[in-house]
């Protein structure tokens, strides 16, 4: 493991800890307003300054880890589950099902990702849950295609033939032999897309379609900072830096996992 992978892992661990126990990292209440201390620059009292309502930005960023990571991880988990179902069905249930499913995925892919997520949120209404679903719908086709390709590749391997020879049913073969072997590439895709999901999720909350105020969420914090750009740079700078740091950490670790899986297969 290189230095950057260690660093990425450490940042990721820190973020997960902050998401799990934010009160361990800050004593301040993220929602406590103080109208006598609005838009204060970073100081010893408020490490990253305060926002337009006098709320402590460091506390809000720490408490913002949870929604940001949860939306990203939730979207990946949903896309993964849907992708496995559709991918396996397309690979296993015959040509007609394969054609119908594959062409349906083409339909989903014909709409640019973010606009598709907008459409989903338009139907379901704003919030963290709909944002998750919207992002999952956008990335599901990619997961389904990878799973389908993997299942078709593994299906012709000798150990699967052997399993059939032992008289295992088709469902059992898929569950016990095919899917575990498709695990690597699919997980690599999942970690790499987590970074993109975090950015996309914060974009949706930035335009006001994600978690609603006063929830401390990075994208939503940036949206609020927009009104005060002429007065204060810190409310706009730090939440964005948090997103960038999280995405970098996830990407570095994800790429490392991907390389390892590829090397093991080679």
């Amino acid at each position: 493991m290189t230095k950057s992978v260690w660093l990425g892992t450490a940042v990721l661990a820190l973020l997960v800890a902050m998401a799990a126990l934010p009160s361990l990292f800050t004593g301040a209440d993220p929602d406590a307003t103080d109208l006598n201390a609005t838009l204060r620059p970073p100081s010893a009292e408020h490490w990253l300054g305060t926002d337009q309502n006098g709320r402590d930005l460091y506390a809000r960023i720490v408490y913002g880890v949870r929604p940001s990571l949860l939306i990203g991880a939730g979207a990946v988990a949903l896309a993964l589950a849907g992708g496995v179902l559709i991918g396996v069905a397309a690979a296993q249930l015959g040509r007609v099902v394969d054609q119908v499913l594959s062409r349906s995925l083409d339909v989903v892919l014909s709409v640019p990702g973010l606009l598709l997520a907008f459409l989903v949120v338009a139907v379901l209404g704003p919030g963290a849950g709909p944002t998750c679903v919207g992002l999952a719908v956008v990335s599901l086709p990619v997961f389904a295609r990878v799973v389908r390709t993997e299942v078709i590749r593994i299906r012709v391997s000798q150990y699967v033939e052997a399993a059939h020879g032992f008289g295992l049913g088709r469902a059992q073969v898929v569950l016990r032999h095919v899917l575990p072997n498709a695990f690597g590439p699919v997980m690599a895709l999942a970690t790499v897309s987590l970074g993109a999901m975090i950015v996309a999720g914060s974009s949706l909350s930035f335009v006001g379609l994600g978690p609603q105020p006063p929830t401390a969420e990075w994208g939503a914090m940036l949206a609020e900072s927009r009104e005060f750009l002429a007065l204060a740079w810190w409310p706009a700078a730090f939440p964005g830096a948090a997103i960038t740091l999280a995405v970098l950490a996830v990407t570095v670790v994800g790429r490392h996992l991907q390389d390892r899986i590829e090397r093991r297969r080679a």
Binding site: R103, V107, V111, L114, L115, V199, S225, A236, G240
Partner: protein, 334 residues
């Protein structure tokens, strides 16, 4: 990559070369058009199903959150044939979409097309300038960074990873803070002047430029190892000419396959960037429509971008076919 040595492939029938190329391109476009028409039909069907599946009747969904008189409501029901059987509704819906009739926005009370037509040029202009900047910047950066010294390559690669991780809307906010509010070099609030276009273009072009630069550099470094480089050098060609005339063309191919992805991300990205810079455009129209559940606008924008996106992907396929003669022989796209 050894088949490069065999290039250029001599066609069997020499006089028909240009005509054959045209016919091949026509066939490619036709096949892709048919497939795309099917995909778009699917997209229209999905929007129809969405309207049906949304909680409440279709009329309620179409009219949600806008207070309308019973007359307008009756008009909607007649327009969408909501009292008829499902297949009649579907046929009517399909017919309206094909004729480009998306009806009126229930919030803005104006025809959807008028709203889109008024804003589309602003969005297209932003996307075009971004594409141009991405292309020029990534070619230049890739040529500079495809260097034998390792530290040059790795520092460029590190910078690219960082830029890709930057959320474009945050980059936009930072640019606004620095160049508009602190230095006052550029207008802060969305103006349609050329100066107002600079910062949004940079914010939108940064990530695709980083990605394309990386891919191009990889291609250039790989192409520099090819035998044809030795041949070209032995003919006494200078290093800049070698890179621009021979190596770059080779490296363009993997980058060209990215164009479809870039177009998709630019269309989505433009929506967000327009909101950051308060620019008039499809993005703000779409956001306003989503917030107000103005479904005619949402559906029209989604289908319109799907058509544009699909058209761009066909264009990219044709472009790749034109850049790389090898894809023609193998019939990879047929």
């Amino acid at each position: 990559m050894a088949d490069v040595l065999k290039a250029p492939p001599a066609p069997a029938v020499e006089p028909g070369r240009a005509a054959g190329r045209r016919r091949g391109a026509a066939r490619l476009v036709l096949v892709r058009l048919a497939a795309s028409a099917a995909v778009l039909w699917g997209a229209v069907t999905v929007t129809f199903c969405l309207l049906r599946l949304m909680p409440g009747g279709t009329a309620d969904v179409l009219l949600a959150r806008s207070r309308v008189s019973p007359e307008i409501r009756a008009q909607i029901i007649a327009e969408y044939r909501l009292d008829d059987p499902l297949w009649v509704q579907y046929a009517a819906y399909l017919g309206r979409v094909v004729r480009g009739e998306f009806g009126d926005s229930y919030v803005l009370r104006r025809p959807v097309w008028d709203e889109i037509a008024a804003r589309l040029p602003h969005t297209l202009l932003l996307i075009l300038t971004t594409l141009l900047v991405t292309l020029v910047a990534s070619v230049l950066l890739a040529l500079v960074s495809a260097n034998r010294r390792r530290w040059v390559r790795s520092s460029f690669a590190a910078a690219e990873s960082l830029v890709v991780a930057l959320p474009p809307f945050w980059l936009g906010l930072l640019l606004l803070t620095l160049f508009s509010f602190t230095l006052h070099w550029f207008p802060a609030i969305g103006s349609s002047s050329p100066m107002g276009l600079v910062l949004p273009t940079i914010a939108l072009a940064a990530a695709p430029t980083a990605v394309v630069t990386g891919v191009l550099r990889q291609g250039i470094l790989q192409a520099l190892e090819e035998p044809f480089v030795v041949t070209a050098r032995s003919r006494g060609i200078g290093e800049p000419a070698l890179r621009v005339r021979h190596v770059l063309r080779h490296a363009m191919l993997p980058a060209a396959t990215l164009l479809g992805w870039i177009a998709g991300s630019l269309i989505g990205g433009a929506v967000i960037i327009e909101i950051v810079f308060s620019r008039q455009g499809i993005g703000r129209l779409m956001l306003f429509a989503v917030q107000n559940k103005d479904m005619p606008v949402v559906i029209a924008v989604v289908l319109l971008t799907a058509v544009v996106f699909v058209a761009i992907n066909i264009a990219v396929d044709v472009l790749i076919w034109l850049i790389d003669p090898r894809t023609r022989e193998t019939g990879r796209w047929a």
